[in-house]
Symmetry: C2
Subunit: 133 residues, 2 copies
DNA sequence: GTAGACCTTCCAGCACGCTGGAAGGTCAAG
DNA sequence: CTTGACCTTCCAGCGTGCTGGAAGGTCTAC
């Protein structure tokens, strides 16, 4: 499987795949006689995992860590659990931060609606947006 | 109040404050005869708000939007509510993504612990970490 | 009047996660 | 045999949020 095919399968660009290889997320595949990358089918799964994890907000460094764990595929030892616990803590902290943000926004929203009736200014254009641009 | 004082009060660097001014988050203050920035006391509040919002995960662009709303300080119109609703949706999406990530990590963690007893390899060093570096 | 802390501007670069382009090699179809 | 799609490498730059440094002006204290 060449890089273009894999890219199409994974929903990524060939550029991104080369980048991931360079970043240590994807092992360097064997090459054809011509020097083309020649991927096994499993590469698509791995990329799908990377794509999903990235979409979920993990950094490439974090994903690399998780993949390394998976790649070892051995009885996980204490170090691994620690690693995972650290990831968990970070994620939970981020969730807590975002929940606070959400509350703040909800407050703002409510206040906004409470005063809404007296709508926009004389020109019919919201002053706020003109400033926001 | 000069920039260094403000920086100390806000827990930011003078560099960052100049950067925020340049980024449109902080209005350009008056200058002294010598050309030094001369901030009113309120600037510290504004910076505190920016700092907290940034810590909560809002992008500077988002914060700028919220500040613009606040600055207008007028009966908020529909546009504003829409703006806030959009922010809210983004935040809620991010929370959902992170919750999914958390679940994935928790699963991993549990599986890790289930197999743990048979601890590390013969060298006493976890193979996984040697690969992770 | 001179040292040292502070301020000014401007330009540069960091890490992150890509993306684009140039310059060239390869391969299958017509 | 040529066209065009595909591949290779390498180098450059984007946007985000800063941070650092150079080169210079200013202010305070001794």
């Amino acid at each position: 499987m060449r890089i273009g095919t894999l890219a199409a399968a994974a929903g990524l660009s060939a550029k991104t795949i080369r980048f991931y290889e360079q970043a240590g997320l994807l092992p360097a595949p064997p090459r054809t006689a011509a020097g083309y990358r020649d991927y096994p089918a499993e590469a698509a799964d791995r990329l799908a995992f990377i794509r999903d994890a990235a979409a979920a907000g993990l950094s490439l460094a974090e994903i690399r860590g998780v993949l390394t764990i998976r790649d070892a595929g051995q009885p996980p030892c204490r170090h691994v659990t620690t690693l995972i616990e650290t990831h968990l803590k970070h994620v939970e902290q981020r969730i807590a931060d975002l929940l606070a943000t959400r509350t703040a926004l909800q407050d703002l929203h409510q206040r906004a609606q409470a005063v809404d009736p007296a709508d926009c200014g004389p020109e019919g254009i919201c002053r706020i947006l003109t400033t926001t641009a």
